[in-house]
C-alpha cells in the first residue's frame, strides 16, 4: 500500500486522472463488465488469485492491489503490455504471461485492460 502511495506523485495523479476521463469514455459499460468477468474467472485471468480488485471476493495477497491504475499506468499500452507478458518487467515474475502463453486471447486482453484501466 505504501509503495503505491509513494508512486502517486501529486502532479502525475492529476494529469493521469484527466487522461483517464478521456480514455474511459471509450470502453462501453458492457465491455467493462465483460472485462471484469474475464479478470475474475478462475479459468481465465484469475487475477484475484493474487491481486485485490474492487468488487472481487477472496482475493490473494501476493501482488499489489489493482487500484488507481491510470495514475500508475498513464500509458494504457504499457498496462496492456504488463498483462500480456509480465516477465518483460520482471523475468522472475510469478504473474502468468497472459498473452505470450495464450492464457487469454488478444480480444480478452483488450477487455481486461479496459476494465483494469477503469479501476
Amino acid at each position: 500500500m505504501t509503495k503505491i502511495t509513494q508512486r502517486l506523485g501529486g502532479a502525475t495523479t492529476v494529469l493521469a486522472l484527466c487522461a483517464g476521463l478521456v480514455f474511459s469514455a471509450q470502453a462501453s459499460a458492457d465491455d467493462l463488465a465483460a472485462g471484469k468477468k474475464i479478470a475474475f474467472d478462475r479459468k481465465k485471468g484469475n487475477c484475484l488469485a493474487c491481486h485485490q480488485i474492487a468488487g472481487g471476493k477472496l482475493a490473494g495477497t501476493i501482488a499489489p492491489p489493482l487500484i488507481s491504475m491510470k495514475a500508475r499506468f498513464p500509458d494504457k499500452a504499457k498496462l496492456r503490455a504488463q498483462i500480456w507478458d509480465s516477465t518483460v518487467a520482471n523475468p522472475n515474475s510469478i504473474m502468468p504471461p497472459m498473452g505470450r502463453h495464450k492464457i487469454l486471447t488478444e480480444k480478452e486482453i483488450d477487455l481486461v485492460t479496459d476494465f483494469i484501466y477503469s479501476l
Binding site: A49, L58, T61, I62, N92, I94, H101
Partner: protein
C-alpha cells in the same frame, strides 16, 4: 495443446540451467536461513505443519481436527497390511526388517547399485512383486495406508536424507533442484514461486506453505481428496506433486517416475533435521 506444454516445459528447464552450482550442504543452509529470516520466531519443527504454521486463523480449525484425526483409521489399516502375511507366508518385515518404526526414516535414498533414487513406495511395490503379490496403485489406497502406518510409527524421528558424493547421485539431486526452481506450465510458475518466494501469502483463499517441512507429514489426509471419485482422503507425496503441476496447467509426470523421485530427493533433503509427523491432516 500437448505440444505447447512440452515446449513450455523445456523452456522452463533451460531458464534455470544457468543457476550457479552449489553443494547440497550449501543449498540446505541457504534454504533454512531463508525461511528462518522470512518467518522469525517459528520453531523449526513447526514448518512440518504446512500452512498452519504460518496462518493463525486457519490453525485453530486444524488443531481441532487433529484432536480426532480422520487419518487414524488408515493408520490402523496400514498396520493390518504390515502384519498380514503374503500368500507365500512371508510379510513386509521380510523386506523392511522387523521394526516398523525404523523404515520411514531410510527414504528416499540413493541406491548405488541401480543408480537411482529409491522411495518408500517404490520399495513397497518391489517387495510385493518379489513375493508374487500384485503391486499397489502409486498414489492412494493401500500404499498410502501402509505409508501412514510407517510414518506414524516413525513420528519424532528426524528427516535424514544422505546425498552421497557420487556424481550420479549429485546429478539426480541437481535434477530435482532444477525441477523445483523451473518455471512450468501454461501459467509459468515454479514450485519455488509459490512455496519459497510467496510462502505465507494467500493465493485466493489458500495460504501457501513453506517448502521447508513439506515432506515430513506424507502421506497426507486431505478433505479435498475425501470426496466421491477421489478416494478416501489419503494420498502420497507424488499425488500432491501431480496436483501442484496441474494447478499451473503443466502436464503432471508419472508418480514414481524419475522426475518426481529426483524431486523428492532434493525436496526431502531440504527438510533434513525436521521431525517426521506423518500422516498429516490438511483442508
Amino acid at each position: 495443446m500437448k505440444k505447447t506444454l512440452t515446449l513450455l516445459l523445456s523452456a522452463g528447464l533451460v531458464a534455470t540451467a544457468t543457476q550457479a552450482f552449489s553443494s547440497p550442504k550449501q543449498d540446505l543452509e541457504k534454504f533454512r536461513t531463508y525461511f528462518e529470516q522470512r518467518f522469525p520466531g517459528i520453531e523449526l519443527n513447526e514448518f512440518g505443519n504446512g500452512p498452519y504454521a504460518l496462518d493463525a486463523s486457519k490453525r485453530l480449525q486444524w488443531e481441532s481436527m487433529e484432536e480426532f484425526p480422520p487419518y487414524e483409521e488408515y493408520v490402523d489399516k496400514g498396520r493390518e497390511i504390515w502384519e498380514t502375511p503374503f500368500k507365500n507366508g512371508k510379510s513386509f518385515a521380510s523386506c523392511f526388517g522387523k521394526d516398523p518404526s525404523k523404515v520411514r526414516v531410510k527414504y528416499p535414498h540413493w541406491d548405488s547399485k541401480t543408480q537411482q533414487v529409491v522411495t518408500l513406495e517404490g520399495d513397497i511395490n518391489k517387495c510385493l512383486k518379489a513375493n508374487g503379490e500384485k503391486p499397489f496403485g502409486w498414489k492412494k489406497g493401500k500404499i498410502a495406508h501402509l505409508g501412514a502406518y510407517l510414518g506414524y510409527e516413525a513420528r519424532g524421528q528426524k528427516t535424514n536424507v544422505v546425498i552421497p558424493n557420487d556424481p550420479k547421485a549429485l546429478q539426480a539431486y541437481e535434477e530435482g533442484k532444477h525441477f523445483f526452481y523451473a518455471k512450468r506450465g501454461q501459467l509459468n510458475i515454479a514450485c519455488a514461486d509459490c512455496h519459497v518466494y510467496y510462502s505465507g501469502q494467500r493465493i485466493r483463499g489458500n495460504t501457501l506453505s513453506a517448502a521447508l517441512g513439506h515432506t515430513t507429514h506424507f502421506p497426507v489426509f486431505r478433505a479435498k481428496w475425501a470426496k466421491k471419485g477421489k478416494g478416501d482422503g489419503l494420498g502420497t507425496l507424488h499425488r500432491r506433486y501431480g496436483g501442484c503441476n496441474k494447478q499451473v496447467r503443466a502436464r503432471p509426470f508419472k508418480a514414481q517416475g524419475k522426475e518426481y523421485r529426483n524431486l523428492e530427493f532434493f525436496h526431502t533433503y531440504m527438510s533434513n533435521g525436521l521431525e517426521i509427523n506423518a500422516p498429516g491432516y490438511r483442508e
